[in-house]
Amino acid sequence: MVLLTSSASYLTQSSQLISARPTSTRITMHYSLPRVARSKRRATASTTETKTKSQQPNPASATPAPGAPGVPTTPSLAAPAAILTLKTYDPVSGVVLQYKTNRAAEVGRLMGGLARLGGVMARGRDELDKLDRLDKLDGHGEQGEKGEKGGGKLDRLDKLDGKDGKDGKEGKVEMGEVLQSGNVAGTSASGGGGGGKGKRKKGGRK
């Protein structure tokens, strides 16, 4: 199992895995609220209350001034943040890629990535090449949420296809060779040029 530290590398490596094993690979997203013991929940709530009371010079005012020292600005102390775990798993080769986050700001970006990966699942490697070239064309990295807007870009892509369609084919042949040699984890994105971080650990900790 590989736990990746950035969403960008998770998405890149997942797209490589999916393009190598499009039939068997699946993506699972697990949204979970951590377990909070009832006693703990009560205890945290009460300490918050006493703190607020002791530091408030005027107890008549119900709402403590936000930003005052020692007074928590958010009442989220009792409820820890939820965790979102993304897993890309290929049961045939046993590769697991994982990414964990607890930030709400990342959900949109990750979902955009999952939409792209869905496209790769549906249409195979061609889709990945197309998306990679679109990204290059637009001059932004691999997590381009704008990359899905299509429209005029597709026309440009068609022109591009006319030019280097041959390269794409060569890339595919190489992919096939790599696959047959059984080295799925370390497939380099030839042709499309995703630029992964070299070889992934295979079957390390499970």
Partner: protein, 135 residues
């Protein structure tokens, strides 16, 4: 086991309910979402093992959602699934992403509190300095 795939609309509506039902208080604290390529069961293994890499026509995507209840709590288990055709993929994912963003409400929000406090302290300092200068 026979599965009943829902339409995209119904799936999204039920998923919204599933997200809404999660809370710290009760016993449903999880939502699992899965996506994979949907291949027909009848496909016999072909000589060309790499035929799935370059499909002649796009495959549909299977999207599943559960609340992750185990076999012991079979009665509480919620299983939803839908099949998204390739042509509807973009449209579906825009709505799906929107739903997930609102549904995953207990993730950590961007903390602007600290920034605000800093700004306030700065303003206060300036005000005091002004007062000192005038008084």
């Amino acid at each position: 086991m026979a599965e009943h795939h829902l339409s995209a609309e119904e799936f999204l509506a039920r998923l919204r309910q599933l997200f809404a039902s999660t809370s710290y208080e009760n016993h449903s604290r999880s939502v699992f979402l899965t996506q994979k390529r949907l291949t027909p069961h009848t496909t016999a293994p072909t000589a060309d093992s790499l035929s799935d890499l370059n499909p002649t026509q796009p495959f549909p995507i299977l999207i599943r959602a559960t609340n992750g209840k185990s076999r012991e709590k079979k009665g509480e288990k919620i299983k939803l699934s839908t099949i998204v055709q390739d042509s509807e993929l973009d449209n579906f994912f825009t709505r799906y992403a929107e739903l997930c963003k609102t549904g995953m409400s207990n993730l950590k929000k961007r903390d602007r509190g600290a920034q605000k406090a800093k700004l306030k302290a700065k303003k206060e300092k300036e005000r005091k300095a002004k007062e000192a200068a005038s008084g």
